[in-house]
């Protein structure tokens, strides 16, 4: 990931606009925004037609194992609007999007935008909190492991991180469920028995959050740790650190004020890319803990297939990734003076 970013920046380095100071910056921002907008339009078009290649017939799914006559099935097709030509369906969909209308779910018969709205918050809460904790833990451990490279701590931490990184999330989740033996709830985000009031409800959600969040954290932190470790190792023999030490700076000052800030750059990219993915949820962990998030929504919608839901989720997810990539590129320019002044 960091490599891709570096090569992207390499092309930015030779961009003549970069040398023109203020106007160049504005132009750079406008270009990035325009690129992002174009990507989103492409996503909308592609999403619509790609999902139509999916196997399965939504009506067949809805009427399976239920007494239904052909007339009823035809009525259902008409109600869902899937008796119309695909181009006409696309036209309606595209126009609808500009009014904030993502269509109506075939299965739940509710506006897709409402369904995504309901599921977005649980996913952002779960994956977001796990990601923030994973970043904190990963960077902290990564820095310490690199600084003490080849020590027992380094080898143990790298080993643990690699092991957890390769453990299947659902298996780890189930294991935690069994091990904790009912201390934490095994399903959902709310308990039907939670008392009324904001405080009780909030604690109830926190209680439900513990296991899925720990599962994700255990799997997520490894990549931050490993990236941070390797990029810090890359900086550790740099001349400027020798210079800093020669100036008589304490070792931790050298680490915190010189090495780490430079080594953070690739990690920042990773962090932003991951934040783009936060909304996509973690399908397997959401399934194990029956967490009512976007990952589950997508998984369920695939079974219909519930095309309007799939399209809506696709646009929201792709939009988040595009937006975060754009922010990462803009931020990188702010963070790394070499890019700005080149």
């Amino acid at each position: 990931m960091s490599q891709a970013f570096t090569s992207g920046q390499a092309s930015a380095l030779v961009d003549p606009d970069q040398r023109r100071g203020g106007t160049g910056t504005l132009r750079f921002i406008l270009t990035k925004v325009a690129e992002a907008a174009a990507s989103i339009v492409l996503v909308i078009v592609l999403g619509f037609f790609l999902f139509r290649l999916l196997p399965g017939d939504p009506v067949a799914f809805m009427v399976r194992e239920r007494p239904t006559d052909p007339h009823q099935i035809a009525e259902l097709r008409q109600q869902l609007g899937i008796d119309k030509p695909v181009l006409a369906q696309f036209g309606n969909y595209f126009v609808g999007l500009f009014r904030g209308d993502f269509g109506t779910s075939y299965i739940e018969r509710r506006p897709v935008i409402d369904m995504i709205g309901e599921r977005l918050w649980p996913t952002v809460l779960l994956v977001g909190s796990a990601t923030v904790l994973a970043i904190a833990l990963g960077l902290w451990l990564g820095i310490r492991a690199a600084w003490k490279r080849d020590s027992f701590f380094d080898r143990a931490q790298t080993g643990i991180a690699l092991t957890l990184w390769s453990v299947p999330q659902f298996w780890l989740g189930l294991l935690l469920l069994v091990v904790t033996n009912g201390v934490f709830p095994s399903r959902g985000m709310h308990s039907p028995d939670a008392g009324p009031g904001f405080f009780a409800q909030g604690l109830d959600v926190l209680h439900h959050l513990v296991l899925p969040c720990v599962t994700l954290l255990a799997v997520f932190y490894a990549q931050y740790m490993l990236v941070m470790r390797s990029s810090l190792l890359g900086e550790m023999n740099a001349d400027y650190l020798t210079t800093a030490r020669a100036k008589g700076l304490r070792e931790d000052m050298v680490r915190r004020h010189h090495a780490v800030p430079n080594a953070l750059l690739p990690t920042v990219t990773l962090v932003f890319m991951q934040f783009g993915m936060v909304v996509s949820g973690a399908v397997t962990v959401e399934a194990v803990f029956s967490w009512p998030g976007l990952g589950q929504l997508t998984y369920d919608a695939l079974h219909g297939p519930d095309l309007p839901v799939l399209q809506g989720v696709f646009v929201v997810l792709a939009g988040a990734v595009v937006l975060m990539n754009m922010l990462a590129e803009l931020l990188y320019r702010v963070l790394d003076p070499r890019v700005r002044t080149a």
Partner: protein
């Protein structure tokens, strides 16, 4: 380094202070909880693990199995399948009669039933429900087939409902349509409106339970309907807790988080047997598993569709294949013994209509006999042991099924082996559910593992094999199972549909199954058992359907949850799932503080000498 240490110390201090600050809260909460527990009248709660999805709850449009089940818990029907035999029994209608021409049905609606808002339930509500289905296309979404043949529905008085049909309809005594309150639903113009899922609408009902809370994708909460005409249920509260993963649900049962669970796999069922405080229930199910043979399928215009191997048009070959498949091995080895041997398409749970082939007609498992039959039919074995059809085509067949279903995976292995033994090579093509649907709808298979759930009324199971059930040229527009189209079968199907004498109708139903069996277009492998488990420390019994060995949850009725008997007030008392929340969160924070603090200490101790100041 000192200031780093002091910062770490500060962080630990803050966290510890935070934890200590929360302890009194935890104490208060625990105290509150204790007071709560000391109260004598704890509500008795039945928690059911729901492992299938709910689309929505509007009874006119809800289609998924769990949603229609919720409809059964909250709404009463004119008649319902009885608990003992799953046959038509009185519900809202105390009694019913038919006219001599069997076209007019008169239902006497009971007078002591009330909606949960206090209004009386009358025949006018039933008339409204059916008339809405006749006049509003959306209202026919879920159960339209029951009214397709209706001419008129009237309620001459509050206690009488009269339905006139265009032709004789045998399913009239089991119309699977929830009756809704007219005063709530009449003002709703658009039945697709998501607001029809609101408690103000679906919270007004007349069944054994009343819906009080619906958190989509998470849980449903019901309270017992004290005014229910049969009498209030013995539990005060019913909760359906949605689990996306059956393993998690099984774990929740073991830990006492839920009380009942169904749809267990044989492995899960075996693992739960003998566990403390858990009782298991193995019941005859209403689903059959089968292998369909593509005999040269056609659409409803009688045009051939799909790419099935034409050799299967030969009935002798199909019979040989049927003879080379051993349902007993499937039941014993694949189902772990939790199934009943297959015969006709209506399972033994509906004993009046179930049909088993008589001994002289049954295609009994016999590899040698199947080989002999193929030899006689001119299918010659080649060098590699694979037979060649009289026209020169090698007997190579594709077998499709669900990639994600253990039953299909293992059955495919066995079937491939058996067919290889009679000189047929089988290529297994296990695919996603959606892909499988597409393939079978379009006739793109040779052999397909399939199966359907059946209903107390045999009409649906039989309709799946009629000419009219076949799809149109685009592979859409109907639901067929086998693509079977046979005048003799269709005639028997039509006869049972218009026969209102139960015994005579059952005769036609059995003859139709015999005809289907004789053509070897499918091999019914088994009828699944419904595998369930419950907390015996919390519930002593449930009303099963059928009796005495039926299922608790997989019913066509509400008997299971209505007839749940708590094991004793103390054990069955609802120990609030979220009650210990505060305490556990505080403990969690303490654990985190200890871990983080410990980690920091270990980190510091592990420093190399040159890192120290």
């Amino acid at each position: 380094m000192k200031h780093v240490q002091s910062r770490v110390s500060r962080v630990i201090a803050v966290l510890t202070a935070g934890t200590l600050a929360m302890l009194p809260l935890a104490g208060t909460a625990a105290a509150q909880q204790q007071v709560h527990q000391q109260q004598p009248a704890q509500p008795k709660v039945l928690r059911v693990a729901l492992t299938t999805g709910i689309d929505h709850l509007n009874p006119f449009t809800a289609s998924l199995a769990a949603s229609t089940q919720v409809g059964r818990f909250i709404y009463e029907f004119l008649t319902i399948p009885s608990a003992d035999k799953a046959e038509a029994s009185p519900a809202l209608a105390e009694s019913w009669t038919t006219s001599p021409d069997k076209l007019t049905w008169t239902f006497k609606v009971r007078q002591n039933a009330k909606w949960t808002d206090g209004q009386p339930v009358t025949a006018k509500d039933a008339a409204f429900t059916f008339n809405r289905m006749l006049s509003d296309e959306t209202a026919r979404t879920a159960n339209g087939n029951y009214v397709a043949n209706f001419q008129s529905v009237t309620a001459p008085d509050a206690g009488t409902l009269v339905i006139k049909t265009k032709a004789v309809q045998s399913s009239m005594d089991l119309l699977d349509v929830p009756i809704v309150p007219e005063h709530v639903w009449a003002p709703i113009k658009d039945l697709n409106d998501p607001k029809t899922d609101d408690l103000s609408v679906i919270g007004v009902s007349d069944g054994p339970y009343q819906l009080t809370e619906y958190k989509q994708n998470e849980y449903l909460k019901f309270k017992a309907n004290k005014d229910y005409w049969r009498g209030a249920p013995k539990v005060d509260e019913l909760q359906l807790l949605i689990f996306k993963d059956v393993e998690s649900a099984v774990n929740a049962l073991k830990q006492g988080e839920v009380d009942v669970i169904n749809r267990l796999t044989p492995t899960q069922f075996d693992a739960l047997q003998g566990q403390p405080n858990i009782a298991t229930n193995k019941a005859p199910g209403r689903r059959y598993n089968e292998i369909n043979l593509n005999f040269g399928v056609e659409n409803n215009q009688n045009q051939p569709i799909g790419n099935g191997n034409p050799v299967l048009k030969d009935l002798r070959l199909r019979k040989a294949i049927a003879q080379a498949i051993d349902p007993k091995t499937i039941v014993d080895k694949v189902m772990g013994g939790y199934g009943q041997l297959g015969g006709g398409v209506i399972p033994p749970i509906y004993s009046a209509y179930h049909w088993d082939p008589p001994a002289n007609e049954a295609m009994k498992f016999d590899i040698a006999a199947a080989n002999t039959a193929l030899d006689q039919a001119g299918y010659v074995k080649g060098q590699d042991g694979i037979r060649v059809a009289p026209g020169g085509a090698r007997l190579e067949l594709r077998l499709t099924g669900h990639a994600n279903r253990p039953f299909d995976q293992r059955t495919a292995q066995y079937v491939s082996g058996w067919l290889h033994d009679i000189g047929i090579s089988v290529k297994q093509e296990l695919v996603s559910d959606e892909e499988l649907n597409d393939r079978t709808n379009a006739g793109n298979y040779d052999l397909a593992i399939s199966g359907y759930a059946t209903n107390p009324d045999p009409d649906y199971a039989l309709a799946l094999h009629t000419c009219a059930g076949r799809p149109n040229a685009e592979g859409k527009g109907a639901t067929t199972d086998t693509f079977f189209c046979d005048p003799q079968y269709d005639a028997l199907y039509a006869k049972q549909l218009t026969e209102t004498d139960p015994a005579t109708r059952a005769g036609y139903v059995k003859q139709a199954q015999a005809r289907l069996y004789s053509q070897a277009v499918n091999v019914v492998l088994d009828y699944d058992n419904s595998l369930e488990a419950y907390r015996s420390d919390k519930f002593s019994s449930f009303e099963k359907q059928p009796q005495p060995d039926g299922s608790i949850l997989e019913q066509t009725g509400y008997w299971g949850v209505y007839g749940a008997v708590p094991a004793g007030s103390e054990a069955a008392a609802g120990d609030s799932g979220g009650s210990n929340t505060v305490l556990w969160i505080v403990i969690g924070v303490v654990v985190v503080v200890v871990l983080v603090g410990g980690g920091v200490l270990i980190g510091r101790r592990g420093k190399s000498a040159d890192d120290r100041e």
